[in-house]
């Protein structure tokens, strides 16, 4: 179990990592190789952020 501040930090860090990856892909739209490298990592990160967010919601409810 992560503590609340760690969860906030990880969510913030995950969102920033996803947003930068999206910007990178957006700036290089025709680069399919880059897309194939970024997509699985970005999906993994999104899943992680969502899990952290659920956990944080539980912390807040408690």
């Amino acid at each position: 179990m992560k503590d609340q501040s760690k969860l906030i930090h990880d969510i913030n860090s995950g969102l920033s990592s996803i947003s930068q990856a999206i910007e990178l892909i957006d700036n290089d739209k025709g680069n399919t190789e880059l897309l194939s490298q970024v997509t699985p990592l970005a999906l993994e990160k999104i899943t992680q952020v969502l899990a952290d967010w659920e956990e944080l919601k539980n912390h807040i409810r408690e």
Binding site: N27, Q37, V38
Partner: protein
Amino acid sequence: MLKLKKQLNFLIIEDDQLSRLTLSNLLKEHGLVFEASDSKSAIDLINEGQFDMAFIDLDLEDGDLKGLEIISPAARKGIYPVVLSGREEDGCIEEAYLKGCQDYLVKPFNKTSLDMVLKKFSLIEGKGTLRKVLATNYITQDEALINELEIINEIVLNDKPVLIFGPTGTGKSHIAKTIHELIYGNDDKFIALNCSEIPENLLESELFGYEKGAFSGAEKSKKGKLELADGGTLFLDEIATMPLLLQKKLLKAIEEKTFYPLGSEKSVKSNFRLVSATCEDLKALVAKGEFREDLYFRIEGYNINLKSLAKRKGDIALLIKHFMKKSIRRVVIPADVMNVLEGYSWPGNIRELRKCVEMLQSKSAGIITLKDLPLNILENSHPCEESKGALARISTESVIATTIAPSRSNGSFVSEEQIRYIADNGLKAFIEKIEDEMVDHFYKQNSEKVRQTLQQLKISNSSFYRIMDRLKAEAHGQLPQ
């Protein structure tokens, strides 16, 4: 796209694979990228490799804030450490800076912030370039002016406007071009327009361009300076002479980065860095209602004040030497002539001085005499009572005599002992020895203050550092190159 002058070696220390991949893709257009995800492998790479910059995340695989431990070792190895972190606590940022971090970027950062850091690194690393520019492009040893020009370090890091003040002939265009070259590495896209040289009715079409048929005589469309400067620098010289109505239109174009060419219904976008120059007191013109206040506040940002030559007389001899080097045919300017040239006020500043040197170089005599000088200079010069040149010669003579040859009996400038030294070691070695001893002597005499030493010796920055490098090499027992 930002273009760096050389390919760099980057080290990314980041635990998050997606962030590493993103940053690596942004950096690889500027050089080679190496990666580490924990502090131990990062330290190993720092110790083994040669890196220019390290991008360090503070929280790593082997623990939170482990990145802080990497900053000092990286800085000690001469690497430029940049922290990239989501942490915004002041304590954390302060600790990173205390450990030697050069820039702290908070995540998520955009490409512009990254480019700014790369540009700053490039400038710091190329400090010699700026020094070289000042030594070869804009000659001055005037301490106050050099301090004024140091603002260029900040100017190249962002796109804020620049306003250059200075009397005619002080090199305003030259400084504008130098700024552009420092940023872009070449003079492409440096678009200059002297507002005072174009008739008022043509200035608008020159600036904004026009469509075919916009006015009688417009047989084909023409791009304006604003459009041509897209992605570069628009230099507006003598901006104070621009008509008020046009000032309003220019203000709109600067603010919106969009404008309409004459006769066109289609707007044109242009992203340019504005550098303006004037020899007028713009604030006074604003007060008199002759220059728009809103435009004044829009074009000023970084202000540079260039002094007239009359206020930096120490530069006259340096400039003469600099301009003389530009011609293949060399002439000699003796001390008495130099004294008169230094005593003249040069109302046309560097431009007038350059013209005068070119005129003297075209004289048939190899040694310039007072008779060769233009009448207006001879009549209006106020040389020092004692000839500075002669004084300098006497003082140099005595130092050389006491350091290399304590006595001379034949009345020649060079003593017999010195002639023997030249015969044994060659003229080059003799000249180098004098250079070394004089730089060492005056540098120490001036409490190791470079600018004073340069002013006294009347040599350029590059010559000074060349000699200092030789002295250092000799002190370390190395053979001078």
